[in-house]
């Protein structure tokens, strides 16, 4: 027993070491966000002192330069609506594909699965061009683009799960006089809830952090957080390291809040998503 305890302690220490390694980078950025811009890049590991401590100046400067709140708003808007659209429409499509056999549906299914491995660079120009031609280059239109782009993974995951749902329950509902819409939303969707959560989480992680797609499609008029941060680097003629640090911290905060509140679902969702795949 004593040996086991020793082993556990050793394991704990190793894990602790790793945990510190994992937290360190974020902690360093947080610390530097309170330092004056010229004392950051050369001495990032030095704590702020009386000379270099600047209170919240970097934050006010950064928020002003990047329009952080509007970027936050657009990121939130696009993520929430895109994820909602993806969950609603792809679950319906997946159910239809599984329940209605047919050559067209199989083709659609395989085309969707195929889209998962295609690198974004393949379509970056043509897609932004199409989006512009159809007037989809606005925060509402991009929701539609995300629906099309996220459809592959999401339909794939929903179909994987729906295949395991016995068809008898639905037939019973149909006999009771439900039409397909009612059957789906009242009977099927509640069963799909765990998968829906997984799909929602995976898509949230992707869309919230996506850079190139929003940059190319709506980047000049509506900046999301990643676009605003990249612009801070290239724009305004100079890189203000202080503002940069502050913006990195502000970009991480919503993610951490989201993570800590939904942690259980996220970890479960990720594991579930993988097993299905």
């Amino acid at each position: 027993m004593g040996k086991q305890k020793l082993k556990n302690l050793l394991g704990f220490l190793i894990l602790l070491f790793f945990a510190v390694l994992f937290i360190m980078p974020v902690a360093v950025v947080l610390m530097n966000s309170f330092k004056s811009r010229f004392s950051i890049s050369q001495y990032p590991f030095v704590l702020p002192d009386a000379n270099t401590f600047v209170m919240l100046e970097n934050y006010t400067e950064g928020i002003k330069n990047t329009g952080f709140f509007s970027a936050f708003g657009w990121s939130l808007f696009i993520t929430v609506f895109s994820v909602a659209a993806i969950v609603v429409f792809t679950s319906m499509t997946a159910w239809y594909i599984v329940r209605v056999k047919g050559i067209f549906n199989s083709i659609l299914y395989y085309a969707l699965v195929f889209s998962m491995i295609v690198p974004f660079q393949m379509v970056m120009f043509t897609m932004s061009k199409t989006a512009n031609a159809l007037s989809l280059d606005n925060p509402l239109g991009i929701v539609f683009i995300y629906l099309g782009f996220g459809a592959g993974l999401s339909v794939f995951m929903f179909t994987g799960f729906i295949k395991s749902v016995p068809v008898q329950i639905e037939e019973a509902a149909t006999i009771d006089g439900c039409n397909a819409v009612q059957t789906f939303w009242q009977i099927v969707f509640p069963i799909l809830k765990p998968t829906a959560i997984t799909v929602a989480i995976l898509n949230t992680m992707w869309i919230w952090n996506d850079y190139l797609l929003p940059y190319l499609v709506i980047g000049r008029d509506y900046k999301t957080i990643p676009v605003a941060i990249q612009y801070l680097k290239g724009g305004y003629g100079s890189v203000d390291m202080g503002a940069m640090m502050a913006m990195l911290v502000l970009a991480i905060i919503p993610v951490v809040i989201f993570y800590l509140t939904c942690q259980k679902y996220i970890i479960k969702g990720v594991a579930a998503g993988a097993v299905k795949g």
Partner: protein
């Protein structure tokens, strides 16, 4: 279920239209444009395979970036999976605080690539400054910087998947092994690894495709410096496309080649590891 069929417009149409607009049409258009010389699509002129030839012959950028990407993918796929697996093994033991550790390890995965790139640029430069270097001093710094960044980001994700796999192994088998006198190492190679083969398949798939497609992190961390020697394929395509005029077709051709490479590698990997799953 025949009645369901009538609901096609409602159930499939929205996804289908979005999919057509966001993916199918651009994809087909992309293949077509790779055989043309164009600037705005409307002025595309058919030029046959010349874009493909130019992509490889005019300079070594594309080949170098492909090679760099492959090197990066090999190193990071191995390191990520080994480390994630080890952490998963430890976290499924009776060590105190496993939940907290799991939370910490997974967190970086939620931070976006651009933000991650700048975080690590600060850390790595801060470290190298002491020795009079910066991340752009030497392409090796950029390479290892990207590997470290990728590990930091992906280990937690893969760890979660491995944990799920390990927890699925029935305790009966493990106890039977113990009764038979199997040591820790034998248990690992004979029971644990074969049983988590499905997790390995998916983890390899995710790490390989993500390593190949890496863009944001590359852009933010090194942007290809020095001399484009740390430029990965995705960034090279982007730069060919948007930073040089007269090269739009070449960029599109590179993208098609890139797509084919990724598709072949992904399918090959799935085939090989799936095969292993069946055997076990």
């Amino acid at each position: 279920m025949r009645t369901v069929k009538r609901y096609f417009p409602l159930f499939v149409m929205p996804t289908l239209i979005a999919f057509l607009i966001a993916f199918v049409i651009p994809f087909l258009m992309g293949i077509y444009l790779s055989f043309t010389s164009f600037r705005t699509v409307a002025d595309a002129e058919f030029v046959g395979f010349s874009n493909y030839i130019r992509a490889f012959s005019e300079d070594n950028l594309f080949l170098n970036s492909l090679f760099f990407t492959v090197k990066f993918a090999v190193v990071s796929v191995i390191s990520i999976n080994v480390l994630a697996f080890i952490l998963a093994l430890m976290l499924t033991k009776t060590i105190p605080g496993t939940n907290l550790f799991r939370t910490v390890f997974f967190m970086p995965n939620l931070i976006g690539g651009i933000v991650l790139g700048y975080i690590w640029q600060l850390i790595i430069n801060g470290f190298l400054y002491r020795y009079g270097y910066s991340i752009t001093s030497n392409p090796n710094f950029g390479f290892w910087g990207l590997v470290i960044l990728m590990n930091w980001q992906m280990i937690g994700y893969m760890m979660i998947i491995y944990i799920a796999g390990i927890q699925n192994i029935s305790t009966d088998i493990l106890e039977a092994a113990k009764v038979d006198g199997a040591g820790a190492f034998t248990t690992l190679t004979r029971i644990t690894i074969p049983s988590v083969m499905p997790s390995i398949t998916i983890c390899l798939f995710l790490t390989i495709t993500n390593s190949f497609k890496l863009f944001d992190q590359n852009l933010a961390l090194t942007a290809g410096a020095p001399s484009k020697q740390t430029q990965m394929v995705a960034l090279d395509i982007y730069n060919t496309f948007y930073s040089r005029s007269g090269y739009e077709g070449v960029g599109q051709a590179k993208a098609v080649v890139f797509f084919i490479v990724v598709a072949i590698i992904a399918l090959l990997q799935l085939k090989i590891t799936r095969g292993k799953e069946v055997e076990s």
